[in-house]
């Protein structure tokens, strides 16, 4: 896939702007017609109260049900619902629904649970699946997780529909990015959607600074924290569950691949977009060029692979700096052992953290580096390569960051102000599609805004 020249994309929602932008402006932007035309069959759960809209971009921590000094409690219910996929279909999923004002709000993935290092975290789970399946939560990476209520299961306590509530309690002892997921027949229940991300924030960061770990080398821009939570879906297995047919995981053959519960291009729609009521989390990563004075800190990307297969994930346009695995900072003795990498294989169940920055190495501005001064190897893109069919393009008409130019009559650009877009995706390219419709699947975009963002 060529950078910023996504020619064959069929459906293209307007991307979310970075978290520094006012949300109202983003939501005011026209929604993509193609998505509005989807036969939308997923009703919003009744009784949902959404006090404040989420920020349009970036990771969104769920509101704990209750908090106290050094503690956070999350009430979850296992419920069944549907997610939308960009080819027009919907898929039966199970999820850990956060309980909002007493009502479970079905969403995929489960809510992002955030805690501070040292907090006592309690997760209360009730089973509303209306099925014989017992459910549970396990917390890989957390030690000494206590479980009470429910019935003892193979990996932890489990709870049946109508069986009350099972409570899990642990100390979030170490900062980092973790997964939580079903510990009850996970070969079925994780596939069905019972998974989510757990983020533990370090206690050692100085006031006003954001660190991913208790180490200054893990510092990131507080306004640019992103979650990329991968999952893969075999719709035949989901249909088998929906129809109470035998479930044989050995027949698994995935056909959909999601980031934060959405398949591309829905992945780049803002958080909380109304047309995806059950998939609240976008995943577009928005950054600005590195600048030692005005933009010195990278963005943080928290990777979690909740799928059942490995995914080779990479950005275009730059490398990422991998700084942690499974909730441990990559340190050797005192010095950081983090490293630059292009493609990172995210093993099933693994987590990793990456710092993301983008350097405007070519001085891509018409003032500093006019075309006339460019070497013979640098050419203005051929419009045939940057305009894709149906007259839609990500290209601004100018190759320079933050500048726009002329486009052929009839061509619509998604570019707001000459920002760049780079694919950020699984390079297992069979996963770059929605059931044979590409581009789709396990992909999102890395958006590079000009310094200061679009005016």
């Amino acid at each position: 896939m060529r950078e910023a020249t996504m020619k064959h994309m069929k459906k293209t929602p307007v991307p979310a702007s970075g978290p520094r932008r006012p949300g109202a402006r983003v939501f005011a932007r026209a929604l993509p017609l193609c998505l509005l035309l989807l036969p939308f069959v997923v009703p919003q759960a009744a009784g949902v109260v959404n006090a404040a809209p989420p920020p349009p971009g970036g990771m969104v921590c769920a509101d704990p049900t209750t908090t106290g000094p050094g503690s956070a409690t999350f009430d979850l219910r296992a419920v069944s619902g549907l997610i939308s996929i960009p080819d027009g279909g919907s898929i039966r999923m199970w999820s850990y629904a956060p309980v909002v004002s007493g009502t479970p709000k079905f969403q995929v993935p489960g809510p992002v649970l955030c805690a501070n290092e040292g907090d006592t975290v309690t997760v209360n789970l009730t089973n509303d699946l209306n099925r014989p399946d017992l459910v549970s939560v396990i917390f890989p990476g957390q030690d000494a997780v206590g479980a009470s209520g429910g019935v003892p299961g193979l990996l932890t306590n489990e709870v049946a529909d109508g069986g009350g509530t099972v409570s899990y309690t642990f100390t979030a002892a170490e900062p980092g990015t973790y997964i939580y997921e079903s510990g009850s027949e996970p070969s079925k229940q994780v596939q069905m959607g019972l998974y989510g991300a757990l983020v533990v924030r370090p206690s050692g960061a100085p006031a006003g600074e954001c660190w991913a770990y208790d180490h200054p080398d893990s510092r990131y821009d507080c306004d640019r924290e992103y979650l990329i939570l991968l999952h893969d879906i075999d719709p035949a297995l989901h249909r088998a569950v929906a129809r109470n047919k035998p479930y044989d995981v050995t027949t698994m053959h995935d056909d959909y691949w999601t980031i934060n519960g959405r398949a591309f291009p829905d992945t780049i729609a803002p958080n909380g977009v109304t047309i995806l009521p059950n998939q609240p989390y976008g995943s577009m990563v928005t950054i600005e060029p590195y600048d030692a004075t005005v933009n010195p800190h990278p963005a943080l990307v928290r990777y979690v692979n909740a799928g059942m297969v490995h995914h080779p994930f990479h950005p275009h346009g730059n490398n990422f700096r991998l700084i942690a695995r499974d909730g441990r900072f990559l340190a050797r003795t005192a010095a950081s052992a983090s490293y630059e990498t292009f493609t990172t294989t995210l093993g099933a169940g693994q987590t990793a953290d990456a710092l993301v920055s983008w350097h405007n190495l070519d001085d891509y501005s018409s003032a500093l580096n006019p075309l006339s001064a460019q070497g013979p190897g640098i050419k203005i893109p051929n419009l045939r390569n940057v305009v894709f069919k149906d007259g839609l393009t990500w290209y601004s008409g100018s190759p320079y960051l933050g500048e726009t130019g002329d486009l052929p009559v009839g061509v619509t650009s998604y570019s707001e102000c000459g920002e760049f877009y780079f694919p950020l995706h699984s390079h297992a390219l069979n996963e770059f599609q929605n059931s044979d419709e590409g581009f789709g699947g396990m992909a999102t975009l890395l958006r590079v805004d000009p310094a200061g963002g679009c005016p």
Partner: protein
């Protein structure tokens, strides 16, 4: 043979301290837990003779996961009589060979496989030596001499028609003891690698169709239905077979050997594992993970620290997070075992 636990488990101190008692092939079976895949200590200058022969393994029924089935295998057995098969039976995986650092030993194989299997040989990835892609025909024997020049976990396997012969079970583990008692790597590592107890965890898969027709199976159809640790799938009817007792306050060394064709994301629940070596080479620095991929053909050594405060009965599940935790369609099963605090 009872479907007994095949987790080769013993005290590292004990393993090293046991004298090399006389065995039929200069080898000695040891192990505090009865083990189908015996551990064979081969002394410097000594030898071990292996038979490659057909047999069967009793495993959970791969069709519906209910009950058990007898799965045809090809496996290694230590040769104890004049004719392979009279006193030997194939096991999954082959015997673990234990060598002292710096020793030179001879390993021979007698081809007692069915004629349709063709020739067979043994290769020793990680050891200096010339591969033997020709092997020997049925009834013949060939010897290989290897030198244990560095400590660690390695494997041996068939070097002929490996796609069929390794899948059928012709594979085993080699442990080269370090220069330090109770230390996996001793002076070969820049960090400590001491342990109190070790577990050999050979990872493999079974496609029953491949095992039913090993000579003719079409690999385009390869689709495993059983996932094994050390030749056993987790069986809810006999969970003790997949449970290893560990001591509070001790360090457990798990030697993963991926003898299968797929990658496996080996995960521990409720604890962490510190990677100390891959393919018998100490890593630049130990790395603490929950979940790490053991690629096909690789070995990976990890240390698991059992807290001194761990209550008796505390269990740490060790499993493939690709969620190959079923026998056929039935959960629980597959590549799943438990460390249970005594």
């Amino acid at each position: 043979m009872t479907r007994m636990k095949k987790l080769a488990l013993r005290s590292g101190v004990l393993a090293t301290a046991v004298a090399m008692l006389a065995g039929s092939a200069g080898a000695q079976l040891i192990g505090s837990v009865p083990s189908a895949n015996a551990t064979v200590v081969v002394a410097d200058g000594g030898s071990v003779d292996l038979c490659a022969l057909a047999g069967s393994a009793t495993l959970p029924d791969p069709a519906d996961g209910v009950g058990s089935a007898s799965i045809p295998i090809w496996g290694y057995a230590v040769k104890v009589g004049p004719t392979c098969g009279d006193d030997e039976s194939a096991a999954l995986p082959g015997p673990t060979l234990e060598l002292a650092l710096g020793s030179t030993v001879t390993v021979s194989v007698t081809n007692a496989l069915p004629g349709s299997a063709g020739n067979t040989s043994i290769v020793f990835p990680g050891f200096a030596g010339v591969p033997d892609p020709q092997g020997v025909a049925a009834g013949a024997n060939r010897s290989y001499t290897i030198t244990a020049s560095r400590p660690g976990t390695l494997a041996y396997e068939s070097g002929v028609n490996a796609a069929r012969q390794v899948a059928m079970g012709l594979t085993g583990t080699i442990i080269v003891r370090s220069d330090t008692l109770g230390s996996a790597y001793g002076g070969a590592a820049t960090f400590g690698s001491a342990y109190d107890q070790e577990i050999v965890a050979v990872l493999s898969e079974v496609d029953p169709a491949q095992h039913a027709a090993p000579a003719t199976f079409a690999y385009a159809d390869y689709r495993p239905r059983l996932w094994l640790i050390d030749g056993s799938a987790y069986d809810a009817a006999s969970p003790g077979d997949s449970t290893v007792s560990v001591g509070a306050g001790t360090t457990v060394l798990i030697r993963y050997v991926n003898a299968g064709f797929g990658h496996h994301a080996m995960t521990i629940l409720g604890n962490r594992q510190t990677i100390i070596a891959r393919d018998g080479f100490p890593v630049p620095a130990p790395m603490s993970v929950v979940d790490e991929t053991v690629p096909s053909g690789q070995t990976m050594d990890v240390l698991v620290t059992v807290p001194a405060s761990a209550a008796s009965g505390t269990r740490y599940a060790v499993y493939d997070r690709q969620l190959h935790v079923t026998n056929g369609p039935v959960y629980p099963g597959g590549m799943l075992m438990f460390l249970e605090v005594a």
